[in-house]
């Protein structure tokens, strides 16, 4: 009996699991249901709280929700495959571009984007359709490049995804047939979605990521992440599963990019480059790369700290004294935060665990060890 307890303890609770990786044991449905319900409820509550704030706070919340969608998309790939990507902002950029090109008012468009392809110049769509197309194009780009990039590992994969970002940013900056004259920006993207719509989009993306985590392909991919030598030996074609994950995460990042574009109302390639890449990677690393909950919590914590620092920059009055930090120190503090996190807690705040309540976690463990059959289930 003690042996069983020790074994289940190791198997279920000590290993860092990814999305819903916890096997369904007796009472497991509660734990695994919580890994979805927890993030959903917390995102909902935090968003509702912040949306009651001032105008600038609402705008920051809208940005945070767009970031959240991109980070969840990035985590879907990085967390499950264990391969680092610096290239996911490319897909967000494609989504943002689609949103911009299709929703800017036609007369404005002829003025800011004079050299577009004629068919592109006359194309327009409602924001909802543009969002869907942004997701589709983000996914298409990801699926096209994935078979090439996904054959690489480790540093090579990181560098190749970085190169992808470089190519996409340069094409979007300089190809005037699909964008503004070089160095300029697409202005006048209408602010189309209310905070409520953005919130539901973010929640939907979390659900998609959670569902993906429970599929067979995601489990095989995680197995390959844990042991890239044994997995192919057990008949897992790592590349196929990586390509699938990369494509799906491209779709999600496309949605996030489109949400970002209509929040920012200005789209410029230089804004969708290494700076943004830093932000989403910092968010993900802060929370913990290996779990969906890590992506969600990291984005929330980063966004709240960021908002707080912004308040401090413009002067925060605490009682009788006003605390201020110098302009421009905000990104510096956030960068330092990332490095400190990597130094002292490299697995992130969540340590790669999914959402759980400590009390329930203990009870589940006790129950599953009390019934030996629980392990086989």
């Amino acid at each position: 009996m003690t042996v069983t307890r020790a074994a289940t303890g190791t198997d279920y609770d000590e290993l860092p699991n990814s999305n819903g990786a916890r096997p369904a044991s007796a009472g497991g449905w509660l734990t695994s249901g919580l890994t979805l319900a927890g993030p959903l409820v917390i995102v909902y509550v935090v968003t509702v709280l912040f949306s009651m704030g001032s105008g600038s706070m609402q705008i920051q919340t809208a940005y945070a929700l767009a970031d959240l969608v991109i980070v969840v998309g990035l985590q879907l790939f990085v967390g499950n495959s264990g391969v680092l990507s610096f290239g996911h902002i490319s897909f967000a950029a494609v989504g943002a571009w689609t949103m911009g090109l299709l929703t800017i008012d036609p007369t404005v468009k002829r003025a800011v984007l004079p050299q577009l392809f004629p068919w592109l110049s006359s194309a327009s769509a409602s924001p909802a359709v543009a969002l869907i197309l942004g997701a589709v194009f983000g996914g298409v780009l990801a699926f096209i490049v994935a078979p090439f990039l996904m054959r690489l590992n480790g540093l090579q994969a990181g560098i190749a995804t970085f190169a992808l970002l470089g190519v996409v940013v340069q094409v979007l900056s300089y190809w005037t047939k699909i964008g503004p004259p070089s160095g300029q920006s697409m202005v006048g993207v209408p602010h189309a979605f209310s905070l409520q719509v953005q919130l539901f989009l973010a929640l939907a993306v979390i659900v998609v990521s959670w569902l993906y985590g429970r599929t067979r392909t995601a489990r095989l991919l995680r197995a390959a992440r844990e042991n890239p030598v044994a997995a192919p030996g057990s008949g897992i074609n790592i590349t196929v599963h990586r390509v699938l994950a990369f494509g799906i995460s491209g779709v999600l990042c496309g949605i996030g990019g489109a949400m970002w574009a209509q929040t920012n109302t200005v789209v410029q390639a230089s804004q969708l480059s290494t700076g943004f890449t830093f932000t989403v990677i910092a968010m993900l690393v802060l929370g913990g790369t290996m779990s969906l909950w890590g992506a969600v919590l990291g984005t929330l914590v980063y966004s709240v700290v960021d908002a707080l620092l912004q308040q401090l920059q413009s002067g925060l009055s605490l009682g009788s004294m006003v605390v201020t930090i110098p302009d421009g120190s905000r990104p510096l503090i956030l960068g330092a935060l990332l490095i400190l996190m990597l130094l002292f807690r490299p697995d992130g705040i969540t340590r790669g665990r999914e959402f759980g309540i400590p009390f329930l976690r203990r009870r589940t463990r006790a129950r599953s060890s009390a019934t030996p059959t629980g392990r086989a289930a």
Binding site: L84, Q170, V171, V229, V285, G335, L338, I339
Partner: protein, 294 residues
């Protein structure tokens, strides 16, 4: 024909410059498995030093630039990377990415968002005639500087005791330690050396452009890192050759690409990189395909 030869000399100069940057990255990668994005901020730091102190005289300014480069590199090691020795290479990559980003903001805070300029070594930008070719003196200086530094590093690595220790640590760190190589000394030395190389790169770049901003070193670092990876960052010669190839490619592409698409130069370099990585994932000079555990 003459214009072709001129472009060849320019390409070799550009190759030498990128090779110096790639060598600095490759040295650090060898002992630490760290692809140091923050190398660019060492270059930027040295460049700021040159621009801000050039009025004190060339010798003083150059010496200060070297000191700043070396000190910055050693500080990175002491304050950040030393505490991450056991971390995997993905964590290290993210950490150096974060460090690079944070330092760019430090430079912005300290020196403002606008470009700082100074006429650094303007004498080198004039054109000289050699065998009927019109060449920039700076190209020749870069080639000589690159050759001298690379030979210097090579001599250091093969002729001195600490250099041999660096080599040993870079081929197998654990075994080297067991045989009595002092990890801290060797890694510190390697970072110092990479700082020195970075300040040389900074000198050439500042002389070319005469202007510095907070992201001055980013572009060359990314391209050199990419070069080192396609050459095979596991070996110093691999990094060196890869950096050289990328430098030559960048220079040749900007010479020969038609004007309409010359803006896309880096995009072509990046595509080339992805292609090379697909054919030879461990690098052009890698002895065999090494299966890397991710």
């Amino acid at each position: 024909m003459t214009s072709f030869l001129q472009s060849v000399v320019d390409a070799i100069a550009s190759g030498a410059l990128y090779a110096l940057a790639a060598l600095g990255l490759g040295l650090v990668f060898g002992v630490m498995r760290l692809a140091n994005f923050a190398h660019g901020e060492i270059i930027t730091g040295s460049a700021y030093t040159l621009v801000l102190t050039w009025h004190l005289g060339a010798v003083v300014s150059l010496m200060m630039a070297v000191v700043v480069g070396v000190v910055l590199a050693v500080l990175f090691e002491l304050l950040v990377f030393r505490r991450m020795r056991r971390a995997n290479s993905a964590t290290l990559l993210v950490a150096s990415f974060g460090l690079s980003f944070a330092l760019q903001r430090v430079y912005e805070l300290a020196f403002g968002n606008s470009v700082r300029t100074a006429p650094v070594a303007t004498g080198l930008t004039r054109t000289v005639h050699v065998f009927g070719l019109r060449l920039q003196l700076l190209s020749l200086v870069t080639i000589v500087l690159g050759a001298v530094l690379m030979m210097g590093v090579q001599q250091f690595l093969t002729r001195t005791s600490i250099g041999l220790q660096v080599q040993a640590a870079s081929s197998d760190f654990t075994t080297a330690r067991l045989l009595g190589v002092r990890a801290n000394r060797v890694i510190g030395m390697t970072f110092a050396l990479s700082g020195l190389l970075a300040s040389a790169v900074a000198f050439v770049l500042v002389t070319q452009t005469g202007a510095v901003n907070s992201t001055f070193g980013v572009n060359i670092t990314v391209l050199a890192l990419i070069g080192a990876v396609i050459g095979g960052i596991n070996s110093l010669s691999g990094s060196l050759v890869g950096g050289f190839v990328v430098g030559v490619a960048a220079s040749q592409l900007s010479t020969w690409l038609p004007n309409v698409i010359s803006n896309f130069r880096d995009a072509f370099v990046f595509l080339l990189v992805i292609l090379i990585l697909l054919v030879k994932p461990s690098g052009l000079l890698a002895p065999r395909n090494i299966v890397e555990r991710t």
